[in-house]
């Protein structure tokens, strides 16, 4: 529908384009070629490399660039952030092996993973197979099973490998929401994702579409539900309701973060809100940074950071509150 796109009157001179240009000027796109294969990962990397990284994984139609706002803002807050773009794999199992190599190459023992759509699905697969390497998960408009997609695609999915890339690109473009009422920022995000898609090879497109449309269910995770945050946009997204509901049921005790706004790509259309939820998520694991020096609480304390349901929360923690400085602090209460 590219032709149709150009004829549409309401296009937006997007701020995403200029923001991305600014981002690219000080953050280079790096590459990692997987040994003994033709597979090449690309990624953006920012922040202090000695911390446990926060690894972002994009969805079917996006690239490593999709999370540039988060890479920018979270690294400024002191987090070590990597946004990875995966090459073409044939199955979730193969993908997991590849991602494991990628983490090796990044020299990180473990990671917090933020996955959007297909990226979240693959992250869950990885967490199920390599539990020691996954500290926590943030699943953004994601799903735990592809059976609903497989059913919709029907026999179409078996033809993916033999389709010309032009056709695959068109198919991918067509999956982006194009009609309906939406906020300007959501529309800009879709347009931008559509443009980024042009950088993907036919092989990438085929791999992603078939990962997405081949029926597969995430095995059960060893992660506790409190280590998971489900982040969802308001209203309809490209993920069918049944899969969204299923994800929420599967991870019943997970923190459920709903965004007020609509749109499939909130990390582009509402970057600050998404960053806020990720930051709050990270604080639950003691990885919270961004305090002015002197205010940083003792590390030992942070490891015991509770979630709401955590019985540990009821434990007494005497005398450590003093760490915080607040102009409105009431000393009598401490």
């Amino acid at each position: 529908m590219e032709g149709g796109r150009n004829e549409v009157v309401v296009t937006s001179s997007s701020s995403i384009v200029s923001d991305f240009a600014a981002f690219r000027s000080d953050c280079p796109l790096k590459k990692f070629a997987q040994p003994h294969s033709h597979l090449e990962w690309t990624y953006f990397q920012a922040g202090p490399g000695d911390a446990t990284p926060l690894v972002f994984l994009h969805g079917t139609s996006s690239t490593a660039a999709a999370f540039f706002y988060q890479v920018q803002s979270l690294s400024r807050k002191g987090y070590y952030v990597i946004s990875a773009q995966y090459p073409a794999f044939s199955s979730p199992e193969e993908w997991c092996k590849g991602f494991d190599r990628f983490l090796d190459a990044m020299k990180c023992r473990a990671a917090h993973i933020v996955g959007a759509g297909l990226g979240g699905f693959l992250a869950q697969h990885y967490a199920a197979r390599y539990p020691a390497r996954v500290r926590s998960l943030v699943l953004c408009n994601s799903f735990a099973s592809t059976y609903a997609f497989a059913a919709r695609a029907g026999t179409w999915s078996s033809l993916i490998p033999v389709m010309p890339s032009m056709f695959l690109r068109q198919a991918m473009q067509d999956t982006l929401p194009q009609g309906g009422f939406m906020e300007m920022s959501a529309k800009q995000a879709i347009d931008w994702v559509g443009q980024q898609m042009n950088d993907l090879s036919g092989e990438d497109l085929a791999s992603r579409l078939s990962l997405n449309c081949t029926g597969s269910q995430v095995p059960s995770l060893q992660l506790e539900n409190r280590q998971i945050t489900i982040l969802e946009s308001n209203g309809e997204t490209m993920v069918p309701d049944e899969l969204r509901r299923q994800l929420r049921i599967q991870y019943g005790g997970a923190s459920f973060a709903e965004l007020k706004s609509r749109g499939d790509f909130p990390y582009l259309s509402r970057p600050e809100e998404v960053t806020l939820f990720i930051e709050v998520h990270m604080r639950r694991f003691g990885d919270f940074i961004g305090y002015p020096t002197g205010d940083t609480p003792a590390a030992g304390y942070l490891e015991e950071l509770p979630s709401w349901e955590d019985p540990l929360a009821l434990r007494e923690e005497p005398e450590r509150r003093q760490v915080w400085k607040n102009p409105f602090e009431d000393d009598d209460l401490l």
Partner: protein, 210 residues
């Protein structure tokens, strides 16, 4: 706006440390209370679905650390709030006196479109400790009146006294605010090419998620 959009109300609880913000939230959402004090780190949120006048809405209640610097989460934390709950401990006058500062700070950070009419609700917490009360209801009510008549409730997170009712009022006020805040929506795209009908047209291929 399509009817499919869910109503999500963002409520922010502010107040000095130790007044019972987290306890109030936990009492309301989880029906739990503990006497042991534990400082909140940063901020966290809980969600609860509630019926307001036959309408199902989701409340996303944000609890902040009373001891934290305001700016550490940035303005994104305050942005999009539909109601701000100011909590004081009615046995500690100083926490009541701070309300002014918390209110001002909220208005600066959130910069709501119509600051004068932005909904606040004041909760005087620890109402079960009547014998230790230092802030009279009259004093609190008077302050609330001077701030464009903020509703005032006395609650106890420990005994759950008045908690449900107070949050009902919070939800109702938030809902009213939410209606005034609809962002600008783009209409259906206009297709000039008559051969193509773009809206909701997914001619082939699977609906894949991205």
């Amino acid at each position: 706006m399509s009817a499919k959009k869910k109503v999500l109300l963002k409520v922010i609880i502010l107040g000095d440390s130790g007044v019972g913000k987290t306890s109030l939230m936990n009492q309301y959402v989880n029906k739990k209370f503990t006497n042991q004090y534990k400082a909140t780190i940063g901020a966290d949120f809980l969600t609860k679905e509630v019926m307001i006048d036959d309408k199902l809405v989701t409340m996303q209640i944000w609890d902040t650390a009373g001891q934290e610097r305001f700016q550490s989460l940035g303005v994104a934390f305050y942005r999009g709030a539909d109601c701000c709950v100011l909590v004081h401990d009615l046995t500690v006058p100083k926490t009541f006196e701070s309300l002014e500062v918390w209110r001002d700070e909220f208005l600066i950070q959130a910069s709501p479109r119509d600051a004068d009419n932005f909904p606040f609700v004041v909760l005087g917490n620890k109402a079960d400790l009547e014998s230790k009360r230092k802030v009279t209801a009259a004093r609190a009510t008077q302050w609330c009146k001077s701030k464009n008549t903020i509703p005032y409730h006395e609650t106890s997170a420990a005994t759950a006294q008045n908690v449900e009712a107070a949050f009902q009022e919070i939800a109702r006020r938030a809902l009213k605010q939410e209606h005034t805040e609809d962002p600008i929506y783009l209409p259906e795209t206009l297709t000039l090419n008559a051969n193509q009908n773009i809206s909701n047209n997914r001619p082939m291929g699977p609906d894949c998620a991205c």
